[in-house]
Amino acid sequence: MVIFGTSLLAICFVVGMYLGDLLGVALGVKANVGGVGLAMILLIFAKMWLESKKLMPKATEAGVGYWGAMYIPIVVAMAAQQNVVVALKGGWVALIAAVVAFALCACCIALLSRTGKRGEPLPPLDPAILADAPGIR
């Protein structure tokens, strides 16, 4: 059933968030530390375990896959509620600090991605995978 997948996702999410909050308290930080990342790791392990037990039928997968595919539309909704006015009103201090910070970080990214063991580029996009997002290439 589709809900099994969504429920599995929700359980991983809630447990991960709880662990992130606990980690925050343990470190004395007023924030969730890595809750999303911990939830992702839980989901990856849950998937591997269920697949090894042959407990992951297509319908269950679809219950998670739907939310993964909704990700970009949700990000668009997120962009639509950013405080763009304040960002523009921040003036030169905010603008210069942000531009220089990102420019330096972009250079570090370029440097680090070219050092050590380089990652294998992903294969070109398979149009079939993108059928769920019409017009998005």
């Binding site: 470190l27 993964g68 997120m78 201090v93 210069i96 990102f102 992903l122 998005i136």
Partner: protein, 255 residues
Amino acid sequence: MFEMLYKTLTQQGLVTAFAVVGIIMWASGHLSKILTNGRVQGSAIAILIGLALAYYGGMVTGKEKGLADITLFSGIGLMGGAMFRDFAIVATAFEVQSSEAKKAGWIGALSLFIGTVVPFVVGATVAWIFGYRDAVSMTTIGAGAVTYIVGPVTGAAIGASSALMALSIATGVVKAILVMIMTPILSKFMGLNNPRSAMIFGGLAGTVSGVSAGLAATDRRLVPYGALVATFHTGLGCLMGPSVLYLATKALMGG
């Protein structure tokens, strides 16, 4: 008639948001083909439209949550809020190759560390240039350059004024928006075409919102790798901001 329609759309807020965002996605897919011959991704255009609408919403209502503050579009606030966003990000982990994720453990940690210290130093230095010469101001603005959550959390912890916190948040929001817009443009330069570099990007570019939108506009298969690392960014920033970074700034500025 129209009043009834308005009432219906407002009452069914979240569902209205699904409809609105779907229309934005459809329109941006076509704009991508017609205006840029498909060179600029539809999702990147959709995010830009979202930001433009957020600006409009902020101007009209004078509040903080962009389009979501307009009653008719209040559902956008729920759909794009932290709960749904994080839920969908976790769902993308389903496509992660765990062998790929394991490979970049230490480099993820390294990039997280650099991604916290470098923006902080830049932010604090810019603050100093603009005449904010005390440790509290420099730390608060520097922390804002890390992420817009680290800024106010740090500011509150070391007793910064609310005007300073607003400036710190503004710095973080500008950075998040920059990451959203510039990532697809700079993706070649940053070597952003594999899981390993996506994890480096997640640690260095910071903010979950910036990273997730930036990667979505570049190649949506990279999203889980970047998000996996970026999620530790705010936590690390909140940990280092009011402690090590503040003390270091204080030591350097002599109070």
